[in-house]
């Protein structure tokens, strides 16, 4: 089943308020859904007989920002954060990419992390992937059972994969620069 068919099924089920967009010209075409309903969409994708996307290959965040003012003119994207879900069905042997777009900061207040519902109740592995996305990109996953950092120490400041991240000067007496 290709991405257009999946898009049609989703559109029929959830409507255009939830299924925001479809991009087919990319190498891996993707469907964009509204952040608030990603968990419901996930349950449907997993349980629907035609889709059976029971395997979450990957969940990661991408920070679209060019901090260098010289290069930012050529940068085509508006500053935002994307959460990318790679899904596949081991029985039907098809796969798809799902995306959710988020603002870099909630309510445009710097330091206020953007929020998206957790899908750890849909695919168990999302638990760890979401912890990593929180740790490295500063995305808050609502209703996550264990929303702690996973790779960095718990008292680490900042989220390293943010493009405007500044490396700390020191950490527990260890010089950083």
């Amino acid at each position: 089943m290709n991405i257009e068919d999946i898009h049609e099924i989703l559109l029929e089920k959830f409507g255009s308020d939830v299924v925001v967009g479809l991009t087919t010209e990319a190498i891996d075409p993707w469907i964009e859904v509204a952040g608030d309903s990603v968990a419901e969409v996930g349950v449907f994708l997993r349980d629907d007989e035609r889709l059976q996307l029971k395997h979450l290959n990957d969940l990661c965040g991408v920070d679209y920002l060019e901090p260098d003012p010289k290069k930012s003119k050529r940068f085509e994207h508006e500053p935002h954060i994307e959460v990318v879900y790679q899904l596949s069905s081991l029985t039907l042997k098809h796969r798809m990419t799902l995306k959710v777009k988020l603002p870099r900061w909630k309510n445009e207040t710097e330091g206020d992390l953007p929020e998206v519902p957790s899908v750890s109740g849909v695919w168990s592995i999302a638990d760890w992937h979401e912890r990593e996305a929180y740790d490295l990109l500063g995305i808050r996953f609502l209703n996550h059972p264990n929303a702690r950092r996973i790779l960095c120490p718990e008292d680490w400041v900042g989220h390293a994969l943010r493009k405007d991240y500044e490396f700390p000067q020191e950490y527990h007496g260890i010089r950083g620069k």
């Binding site: 891996d28 979450l56 290959n57 990957d58 994207h77 695919w123 760890w128």
Partner: protein, 428 residues
């Protein structure tokens, strides 16, 4: 008043001392086991590197097992955002350092998918030979280390004896023994060497003069001919060993649903009975390398398994690995036959600072430990906006929490070992 109190009187008047006066036989029956937090790792021989397991135990029983990772986090993804894809390949070596060739392959294929590169046949055949040889070497370590986890030392020595020859052959190919960076965007850095001196390990095992010179392909064929009958011996030594079966069969049983939900891949998934291997079911850019090769995908349950074995237990996961080695030998032999007549060069030219298109792609390949994914987002610069490495062990390890619930403490290394994790890949 008598100043010498009898012992019983003393006990009554001084309740604080009563503990010492209790009948020792009573105390013996009053042993209580308190809950105890035990820290296993990060420096523990059975945790395969720097994995820390926080165990909440009640006597011998583990009630809760919480893995803590991140001790080997080297910010590979952040580094990847500041390098071109070819420059990032040496960093992929350091992810799964026991199968660095397969990491290079996954990384290169993802970049080729993004750039829309077409590869000559010869490059693909070389990649198949090298990739499958990497799988053999990696599973040999997996077997040896698992034996060590369960207290059997000798399989480890045999496994490393064999792996040494593979490493010698890799050294002749690219100069490195662990971090190869051999498979690169557009093919491989060099063609296979023509004539080499026989690897010392192989010379002593086959009783040949260590100064013998022979073509690299023949040295590899000689090694495969020598290795194949040995696998039966490892089965007698380890797989069918009564103690080994007691330590692995019906322990750490994982259902297929749980494996899929936890994103488990590779031998861990196939050990639970799911027939899924990206070499057959993956994307065409990867499967076309394997299209003409005949090989089977070992999937549990096995007809010849000992009666104690349950589908999805430690033994099944281990046995899938062992059977994969046999299949890999088949593929390498087949590929070696095709290599001399394969058309084209080993590489198509690729500039270090080739600009990535304004597009993105995600590709997974079948590495020895599971499906390793690379996600690249290009913005027109040589450096990707996002260079993501999805680790297979990361997903495989996430089941420990559930598998280790309520098992005896001694089964924890058995379960973690059967998942065959490499911390370099988990922490990246």
């Amino acid at each position: 008043m008598n100043s010498h109190k009898s012992i019983t009187e003393f006990a009554e008047s001084e309740p604080a001392m009563s503990m010492q006066l209790e009948d020792p036989r009573v105390i013996e029956f009053d042993v209580r086991t308190d809950e105890m937090l035990v820290n296993m790792g990060p420096q523990h021989p059975s945790t395969h590197g720097v994995l820390r397991l926080l165990l909440r135990t009640d006597g011998e029983i583990v009630h809760e097992c919480t893995p803590h990772i991140g001790y080997l986090h080297r910010c590979a993804e952040k580094i990847g955002e500041n390098l071109s894809v070819v420059q990032w390949i040496p960093y992929s070596d350091r992810m799964d350092y026991l199968a660095a060739m397969n990491m290079n392959l996954g990384m290169s294929l993802a970049a080729e998918k993004l750039l829309g590169m077409e590869l000559p046949d010869k490059a693909m055949v070389v990649r198949v030979i090298i990739g499958e040889l990497g799988r053999i070497a990696s599973h040999l370590v997996g077997m040896g280390a698992y034996g060590l986890d369960l207290g059997s030392f000798s399989p480890f020595l045999y496994a490393f004896r064999e792996r040494e020859i593979v490493l010698d052959l890799f050294e002749e190919v690219c100069g490195a023994r662990l971090t190869y960076s051999y498979i690169t965007v557009g093919g491989t850095t060099h063609d296979l060497p023509e004539e080499i001196e026989i690897p010392p390990g192989l010379a002593s095992l086959t009783k040949r003069d260590p100064r013998t010179r022979l073509p690299w392909i023949d040295a590899l064929r000689m090694f495969l001919n020598w290795l194949e009958p040995r696998i039966t011996e490892y089965h007698t030594l380890l797989t069918r060993n009564a103690i080994f079966i007691k330590r692995t069969a019906a322990i750490g049983v994982m259902s297929a649903e749980m494996a899929v939900s936890h994103g488990c891949t590779g031998p861990v998934l196939r050990g639970s009975g799911v027939d899924y291997d990206l070499r057959r079911h993956g994307e065409s850019i990867y499967t076309r390398m394997y299209d003409d090769f005949e090989f089977d995908i070992p999937v549990a349950p096995f007809g010849d398994a000992p009666p104690e074995v349950i589908l999805g237990d430690n033994w099944c996961r281990f046995f899938v690995r062992m059977m994969e080695v046999v299949q890999s030998i088949r593929i390498v032999r087949d590929a070696l036959d095709r290599y001399p007549t394969a058309a084209g060069e080993h590489r198509v030219p690729h500039k270090l600072a080739t600009k990535l298109p304004k597009d993105e792609c995600y590709l997974e390949t079948e590495c020895p430990r599971g499906q390793m994914g690379f996600y690249l987002v290009g913005t027109g610069n040589a450096e990707p906006l996002r260079a993501r490495a999805k680790s297979s062990c990361f997903c495989n390890l996430s089941v420990t929490q559930k598998l280790c619930q309520g098992v005896p403490l001694a089964d924890v290394p058995s379960i973690v070992g059967s998942l065959d994790v490499v911390m370099g890949e988990i922490d990246r």
